[in-house]
């Protein structure tokens, strides 16, 4: 245990893709509900790394993802992705470099569009088609190929509406959509939290398969410490808007859920009383 480094700054590698520099995020500024969601956060993520982000409710783990995707206003510091400063870039202009799977399966896809149409919209993220036909023939083949990997039979009915799919199927489609194109970064925002246990483990195995295949730099927010240990190659723990734990490599490999809990206690000086963190 003594060997585990509680570092706030990650050592800066040459090929870092994400770089938070003293980032401050505040919500509801100037109202009684004002919250300081991220406090002076600095974090570097190297290309191809699969980062799991944990922490109690309100710790700032989802805000890290929102700051990257453009949904959270950054008040101080700077954020760059793939060498480009994106600190004040609106959501739609980040879509080229950052793709995302939401917690709620209904948010990531359009229910009243077909599977093919949804896929075409996701593909246009990195290759916009504006006034050309949105669906090209090679897109159909690509979607069929990729859906057949799921083993759910979705590839036979690409012209059916997405609204007819179950939550797990929609989340699987969201993953396929998020990993198409040439985005550098994949954000997963508790994307299995709304699913039943069996479906959640199916979606997780699909996730690690796709991440390995596309070699995208991945940030996954999770409520489950076990999931954080089972997937990815680096763990970052947030508490009250700050990073309190950042481990990877052999240090991380030796960790157990109990180790994480006691590390959390040491770092924050508090007992972790969020039951949700212990489950799974």
């Amino acid at each position: 245990m003594a060997g585990i480094a509680l570092t706030v700054f990650w050592r800066t590698g040459g090929e870092k893709v994400i770089s938070f520099r003293n980032v401050d995020v505040k919500f509801n500024l100037g109202t009684p509900l004002e919250t300081h969601a991220l406090r002076d956060v600095s974090l570097d993520v190297k290309e191809g790394q699969f980062l799991t982000v944990i922490g109690s409710n309100g710790a700032g783990k989802s805000t890290v993802l929102n700051a990257l995707a453009g949904g959270a206003p950054i008040f101080g510091g700077s954020l760059s992705v793939d060498g480009k400063d994106v600190t004040h870039l609106p959501v739609h202009r980040r879509a080229k470099i950052v793709s995302r799977v939401f917690q709620d399966p209904r948010v990531g896809t359009c229910a009243d569009l077909t599977r093919l149409e949804n896929f075409a919209i996701a593909r246009a993220r990195t290759q916009p088609r504006r006034f050309r036909p949105a669906v090209s023939p090679d897109m159909k083949d690509e979607l069929k190929d990729r859906l057949s990997l799921l083993g759910l039979g979705l590839e036979n009915r690409i012209n059916d509406l997405v609204g007819q799919l179950s939550g797990g199927q929609r989340q699987a489609l969201s993953l396929i959509m998020a990993s198409t194109g040439r985005s550098k970064v994949l954000l997963l925002d508790e994307h299995t939290a709304a699913l039943d246990l069996e479906t959640a483990s199916y979606v997780m195995s699909l996730t690690s398969q796709l991440v390995a295949q596309t070699a995208m730099t991945t940030l996954m927010v999770t409520h489950s410490m076990q999931q954080a240990l089972d997937y990815g190659d680096r763990i970052v723990m947030f508490h009250r808007g700050k990073i309190v734990l950042d481990v990877d490599g052999t240090e991380r490999a030796a960790l157990t859920v109990n180790d994480l809990l006691s590390l959390f206690k040491k770092a924050s000086g508090e007992e972790l009383c969020d039951d949700a963190l212990l489950l799974g």
């Binding site: 739609h92 080229k96 229910a111 916009p128």
Partner: protein, 304 residues
């Protein structure tokens, strides 16, 4: 009913089918309850009539009327997108402002077009048929042209962006779609169609009137909502066809109802009947069908 009357339904139904296509884009695709239509319909009539009365080519005048409608629709959307004014209020603000603007454009409450060359005059001379036939022929051509152009548009990346913006704005944003700009362009397009509908309306009925827009929003909704609930359209090609069909069917049923002496309806009851029709359709759509059945037929053991 005479051929003349039947062609009359077609004529007015086709004119309003362009409005219905606009309503389809704002209400169904973008899910933006756009009331500025009440001002952009007479705006199109006013701009078209004034330009034609000043000797400009009627086709060019109609297109320019569409451009004026685009600007007004884009303004409505901007009030919502840029300044977060709720959609209904944005539309009302623009419609109210347009009332004064329309009076300015026409220099009075109406602008007669008697004796001016309209888009319907030249074809009537070439075909040497009565105007109630040639008018319908011209309108079929214009409506088909617009329908095909819209169908092609819905297949492009922009068309998908419009649909995604209305269906799921958060997903659209995450997919790199500029939701604000797409809403502005889409609402501009919807109101351009409305204004073209107004310009053609003025040319058929011999002039523009500042009150021509009263209730057109409900007319457009009646055509779109009623027909879409009877024939749910999976593809955009079918949906645009349904709008056109709905508009003509709506006019025909209104005409038949007004002509039937049994019902004792007057022409002035039109707006009331239309509002009731739309309200009932919306109630049925919202799942009220079973409730109504329960209430009136006492079906047992059926729960919503």
């Amino acid at each position: 009913m005479s051929l003349f009357e039947v062609m009359g339904f077609f004529e007015i139904g086709l004119v309003f089918s362009i409005l219905a296509l606009g309503t389809f884009i704002s209400f169904r695709i973008l899910r933006f309850p756009d009331l500025s239509v009440e001002g952009t319909f007479p705006l199109g009539a006013a701009v078209g009539a004034v330009l034609i009365a000043n000797g400009l080519n009627p086709w060019v005048s109609t297109v320019l009327a569409g451009c004026a409608g685009f600007a007004a629709g884009a303004l409505t959307a901007s009030l919502h997108v840029r300044f977060q004014i709720i959609p209904i209020l944005s539309g009302i603000l623009v419609a109210v402002a347009l009332y004064s603007i329309n009076l300015r454009i026409m220099g009075g409450p109406n602008k007669p077009l008697l004796g001016s060359e309209t888009v319907f005059d030249a074809p009537a001379r070439w075909l040497s048929q009565p105007s109630y036939i040639t008018n319908v022929a011209v309108l079929i051509g214009v409506v088909l042209l617009i329908k095909v152009a819209l169908d092609l548009m819905f297949k492009t990346g922009f068309g998908f962006a419009l649909r995604a913006t209305g269906s799921n704005a958060e997903m659209a944003r995450a997919a790199g779609i500029n939701v604000g700009l797409t809403t502005i362009a889409g609402l501009g397009l919807a109101n351009a169609l409305t204004a073209i509908s107004g310009a053609l309306f003025a040319q058929i009925f011999g002039g523009a009137d500042v009150y021509a827009g009263t209730g057109v929003i409900i007319t457009g909704l009646a055509s779109v909502i009623v027909v879409m609930s009877i024939f749910p359209s999976r593809t955009m090609i079918l949906a645009t066809f349904a709008c056109i069909f709905g508009s003509i069917a709506y006019r025909a049923s209104v005409g038949i109802a007004l002509n039937a002496d049994v019902l004792g309806l007057r022409a002035s009851d039109l707006q009331l009947v239309t509002a009731l029709l739309v309200a009932v359709t919306l109630i049925l759509q919202a799942g009220g069908w079973l409730e109504l059945r329960l209430r009136f037929f006492g079906v047992q053991g059926v729960k919503k």
